[in-house]
């Protein structure tokens, strides 16, 4: 299977601050690929660069062999690549239903949209209950569900997910990852996933990259990454107590 999405030496910056320093990665068709990294490593910037929200300074973003860097975001969505943004990027004064309709903005097939609407209501029954409410009145977690559901309504072939589990309960986090697996397996949707919950991410991912300070520093299959010592320590939170004890003593001293 070929690569549906390819990044080659992408450099992006916010004003004078360079956030990506040459990121290259490949997302094969029909797979789930995850990008791990600390806060501020450039994960979100990578996704934003792919979806056209930020124009890269250098490098290429190829979607199905075609260069898309610097293109307007709406054209990228039309091509079938949709991002689920981090946090609560909903339309606060529109009803939940209208929010979902906006997800299907680029589509013309009314029947298909109706089907998909039923599908996401199946995934998230709470959204059906709140369909007439303004999205701004939903709780943080419910807005997160709405953002995911809305992206699915575009019926994309590739989804970029930015922290889908942010602020969700353990039960919902499990459900979200089940949904991610389902849309990947049942509909063949390719997924590029950015997630703090590395446990979950590595469990579902076929392949993973590790991003640090704007550069890819490691890549491997999901299963093998989960076995690596460094990954276990820094991203999965399994570490020995020795280092910590020392830091703790230092901290006490600083406070007094």
């Amino acid at each position: 299977m070929g690569a549906v999405l390819e990044l080659a030496n992408v450099e992006s910056s916010y004003g004078p601050v360079q956030a990506l320093r040459g990121v290259s990665l490949t997302v094969p068709e029909g797979k789930i690929v995850t990008v791990l990294g600390a806060n501020g490593a450039g994960k979100t910037t990578t996704l934003k660069t792919i979806s056209g929200i930020i124009a890269p300074r250098k490098g290429q973003v190829k979607f199905r062999g075609e260069e898309i860097q610097g293109r307007a975001p709406d054209r990228i969505v039309r091509a079938g690549l949709v991002q689920v943004p981090e946090g609560r990027e909903v339309f606060p004064l529109l009803s939940v239903e209208d929010n979902l309709r906006m997800g299907a903005y680029t589509r013309r097939d009314a029947d298909g949209v109706a089907q998909d609407l039923a599908m996401v209501f199946g995934y998230f029954p709470i959204l059906r209950e709140r369909a007439r409410q303004e999205a701004g009145q939903l709780s943080g977690g419910q807005q997160q569900m709405l953002a995911i559901a809305r992206a699915l309504l575009a019926r994309p072939s590739v989804v970029l997910m930015d922290e889908p589990s942010l602020g969700l309960s353990p039960k919902l986090t499990k459900e979200i990852f089940d949904i991610i697996l389902r849309i990947n397996r049942e509909r063949g949707v390719t997924i590029l996933l950015v997630e703090q919950n590395a446990h979950m991410a590595l469990k579902v991912a076929d392949y993973g990259y590790v991003l640090e300070v704007g550069r890819i520093v490691m890549e491997d299959t999901g299963a093998r990454l989960a076995e690596k010592e460094d990954i276990r320590e820094f991203y999965l939170g399994m570490k020995s107590g020795g280092v910590r004890g020392e830091r703790r003593w230092k901290r006490k001293k600083l406070w007094r």
């Binding site: 806060n39 501020g40 009145q137 943080g140 602020g167 969700l168 309960s169 353990p170 499990k174």
Partner: protein, 253 residues
């Protein structure tokens, strides 16, 4: 005297009952955590305590007196909070953000400030020294003069905690302190929560989803669902409560 108590608290928005007769007590010096599914009313309770919403029923008392008035009265009583979605002053530096946390310790008048009397300068230096302690504790030193708007999510989260600590609260409300943090940063957060409790004597009331963090730092846990209390007890008790597993944790699969 109970330190902090919520009695029969209830609120409805339009026709929806968001919080329905919730009561609990927090003892001085403990870490008390509220868990529950999304939309269970956890953040709403925080907003009721902060007097951002008016409750339809019930009362909230802190150190024996009822909480009433506007949000700034809550802050003046010594209750600070952080927000689920980070509400910092974006166009100011980290230092200035923390200094606003010192607002309740302001002792100078406008007239003195216009003239910038020596007294104002001394007060400012004292505020600054107090803020530096927080900066030291949270290891924010090298972000001190950065604009908040350009900082990564994890750092902003810490800045917000710092701003709350700068008020020198007796009770701190943390709304999902670890959301969006990686395991390493969550670990730091756990240490800071323990520090607050043990070193600074601050009582912590928090909402959190990360059960590892919850069981590590909490003394007691309250579980909510659909605006009602479904369980209360030690972390272990609540985690094994069938209703909590059903509504919140989800079965193992």
């Amino acid at each position: 005297m109970t330190f902090f108590a919520v009695e029969n608290l209830g609120v409805r928005f339009g026709g929806v009952v968001a919080v329905d007769g919730v009561s609990f007590e927090v003892k001085q010096g403990e870490v008390y955590t509220i868990i529950g599914p999304n939309g269970a009313g956890k953040t709403t309770i925080f907003n009721l305590i902060g007097l951002i919403y008016r409750p339809t029923s019930g009362r909230i008392s802190f150190e024996g007196r009822e909480l009433e008035g506007a949000p700034h009265h809550v802050a003046e009583r010594g209750i600070a909070r952080t927000f689920q979605n980070i509400e910092l002053f974006e166009h100011a530096t980290v230092l200035q953000n923390l200094l606003i946390g010192r607002h309740r310790h302001r002792r100078t008048s406008l007239a003195e400030e216009i003239l910038f009397l020596p007294r104002v300068r001394r007060a400012e230096l004292a505020q600054r020294a107090a803020v530096e302690k927080v900066i030291d504790l949270l290891e924010l030193a090298h972000h001190r003069d950065s604009m908040v708007a350009g900082l990564p999510y994890g750092v902003r989260k810490v800045v917000e905690l710092g701003r709350a600590l700068a008020t020198e609260p007796r009770l701190i409300l943390l709304d999902e302190p670890s959301s969006g943090l990686n395991p390493e940063e969550t670990d730091d957060m756990a240490f800071w929560i323990e520090d607050m409790k043990k070193e600074l004597g601050i009582t912590v009331l928090m909402v959190e989803h990360d059960m590892n963090l919850v069981s590590r730092v909490s003394d007691r846990v309250l579980a909510l669902n659909e605006g009602r209390v479904i369980a209360e007890g030690t972390p272990a008790e609540v985690q094994s409560h069938p209703a909590v597993v059903e509504a919140y944790l989800g079965g193992d699969d």
